[in-house]
């Protein structure tokens, strides 16, 4: 187990390193950052000043090493656009994205686990079909369109929820639904398969034969085992939501990491883009590791095998 975890950790660090190189190169592949920052009618001297000012005249590997050296201390330099350091910008915005993803995951789990269980208990019934339909439709809905429809129906037409900003928790209801909906198909399928497998196992038959209550069997014996893989999947989905919240945050005008990256990309604010990309990737890596650990802790068979 220890060897297994050490290996995973080593690979994770290696992946994080590769991602940092990608994040660093991404904004530089088109050519000269200084020319892009200076704008179209800048003179050669102005470009030179910018190059000097941001240290863009040094070799790439020196620039990278300096950036990484500071990044591990959570110092990502100054933003090009906001009069703030990148790390303080991130600290300001991250709460909104975490809240959004948290609510999103809560919505996804509270919809998909009961649906998955019901679908597994009555295979091929109307509820199974309904669950399948929701999954199939969900995978075909364009995220931005679904967000706009929610906004139109519940925000503009019915006036039940605010449609932009992030002042209160009410502001997060519609965004969380639009973001969380995309995780429901995967979680629902996994719950359904897990439940089907567990329900046909010997120990459930034994429990039935003992005359235990159906509720006890379902919740105490079956569900607990069926949702073990869902824990790891939830961690991965949470990571996906952190990186995939750009569209939702843009539509609902939530000042989170996604919106920060979006504005940064449009304004050539490369220190911000680099930092957010690296941070989201590292979050994802940590979440996947955490999911595996939790899985191994919940299911001793994984530890042995």
């Amino acid at each position: 187990m220890l060897v297994f975890m050490a290996r995973r950790l080593f690979v994770a660090v290696l992946v994080a390193f590769t991602v940092s190189v990608i994040a660093f190169s991404l904004m530089r592949i088109s050519g000269d950052l200084a020319v892009m920052l200076a704008g179209e009618d800048a003179t050669a001297e102005q470009v030179e000043i910018i190059r000097e000012r941001f240290g863009l005249n040094r070799p790439y590997y020196i620039q990278y090493l300096e950036w990484m050296g500071k990044a591990v201390q959570f110092d990502f330099g100054e933003s090009m656009f906001y009069p703030q350091s990148v790390s303080s910008l991130i600290v300001d915005r991250i709460t909104n994205t975490l809240t959004l993803a948290g609510f999103g995951l809560a919505f996804a789990l509270s919809l998909s686990i009961p649906m998955g269980v019901l679908a597994a208990l009555r295979p091929d019934s109307w509820i199974d079909r309904l669950a399948l339909t929701i999954a199939v439709l969900g995978q075909a809905l364009p995220g931005f369109w679904f967000a706009l429809i929610l906004m139109f129906i519940f925000g503009l037409y019915l006036g039940m929820f605010p449609i932009s900003g992030s002042d209160t928790y009410w502001h997060f209801v519609l965004p969380a639904i639009s973001l969380g909906y995309y995780s429901t198909p995967a979680v629902m399928r996994l719950t359904r398969t897990g439940m089907l497998e567990v329900m046909s196992s010997d120990y459930i038959r034994t429990a039935r034969a003992k005359g235990l209550h159906t509720g006890t069997i379902l919740f105490k014996h079956a569900l607990r085992n069926a949702v073990i893989p869902v824990v790891a999947l939830s961690a991965v989905q949470f990571g996906n939501m952190l990186g995939g919240s750009i569209v939702t945050e843009t539509v609902f005008q939530i000042q989170g990491l996604g919106k920060l990256a979006y504005d940064g990309v449009l304004k050539n604010d490369f220190p911000v883009v680099q930092a957010v990309l690296l941070l989201v990737a590292v979050f994802y890596i940590v979440l996947v590791l955490l999911g595996d650990l939790l899985n191994a802790w919940l299911d001793p068979r994984i530890r042995v095998g």
């Binding site: 364009p142 931005f144 990186g243 995939g244 449009l266």
Partner: protein, 316 residues
């Protein structure tokens, strides 16, 4: 080629016809050929036929756009801004789906928009399919170091947030139809690799591959004529889903303003342009959004159907 056909991954097993028709032939006297059974499985699969019809319809719409579209999709007519569609009181047959904020005929733009979605979906899928399949098959066949490298690249790719990276890349390179295709093609290969890797691993351990190795076939020959034909079914299914995936991402990028650039009629871009008018002219976002939804839904249903038809033993 007799050996591989006999041990296909997706055998045309008569016992698995959907609809439960007796394969031993109530109506046909002899044993039906595998070809006939295949056609029966295709025709008997309701949602597959339904999805295929929609897709053929949309492809025809894209091909025949110049003849189908009643107006020039780029032609602005500011005197006829925001004409409502035909099902409202003020609708007119001159503009069945109304006009947008610049007075352009919405039906014509919707028709031409299908070209963009289809082109991007298929070309991006072809690029990502080539990359992903090569990596997956090589990793599955050779294992060892090759597998380690591919798995590492795959893990790294999955760690990168797709929309964010695509956004940054498209902006840096400059948004256009071609950059969107290239960016999506070079980002979305992960599922091809995952599936092709595991399928190849399964096929690799089968007897006929060992036989081919024993009679001294070259690696190239084994991969191309023993392995590839037997992973083709799975490849086709993934390819279908990835077309849908690319279409959705293009729409999202265009919606964010960094994909296909105006005045090109892309469905995602049309939703973005209609956004400011959604309170009073909701049709401006509803119609193009519904088009994306229908196309992606049909493609996904086609993929699900293809999986049932090609590998009935895997049906869950």
């Amino acid at each position: 080629m007799a050996l591989p056909t006999m041990t296909r991954v997706s055998p045309a097993d008569p016992g698995d016809i959907p609809g439960g028709a007796d394969p031993l032939g109530v109506e046909s006297p002899g044993q039906p050929t595998s070809g006939q059974l295949f056609v029966r499985r295709v025709v008997g699969h309701g949602s597959f036929v339904f999805a295929a019809t929609i897709i053929v319809g949309i492809i025809l719409m894209a091909l025949l756009a110049p003849w189908l579209a009643p107006h020039d999709p780029y032609n602005q007519d500011l005197g006829n801004r925001l004409v409502y569609p035909i099902w409202t009181e003020n609708g007119t047959w001159l503009h069945p789906l109304g006009t947008d904020a610049l007075g352009r005929d919405y039906l014509s733009r919707v028709i031409y928009g299908s070209q963009i979605s289809l082109i991007i979906g298929f070309t991006a899928m072809t690029i990502s399919g080539l990359i992903g399949t090569t990596m997956g098959v090589l990793a599955g066949y050779f294992g060892g170091r090759v597998d380690m490298v591919v798995t590492f690249l795959l893990t790294t790719r999955l760690t990168l947030p797709v929309v964010m990276v695509a956004l940054a890349l498209v902006v840096v390179v400059g948004g256009s139809l071609y950059t969107v295709i290239l960016v999506l093609g070079f980002l979305l290969w992960d599922r091809f690799t995952v599936v092709m890797r595991s399928t190849t691993q399964q096929v690799r351990s089968l007897d006929y591959v060992a036989a081919a190795e024993a009679i001294g076939c070259s690696t190239r020959r084994i991969i191309l004529s023993e392995i590839m034909p037997n992973v083709l079914g799975n490849l086709l299914v993934i390819a279908t889903f990835e077309v849908a995936h690319s279409i959705l991402l293009e729409a999202a990028l265009s919606f964010l303003g960094v994909g296909v650039q105006p005045p090109t009629p892309s469905w995602g871009l049309m939703v973005a342009e209609g956004r400011d008018y959604m309170l009073f002219e909701p049709y401006l976002i509803m119609i193009p959004g519904f088009c994306i939804f229908t196309l992606v839904l049909a493609i996904n249903m086609l993929g699900d159907g293809a999986r049932d038809i090609l590998a009935p033993e895997n049906r869950s």
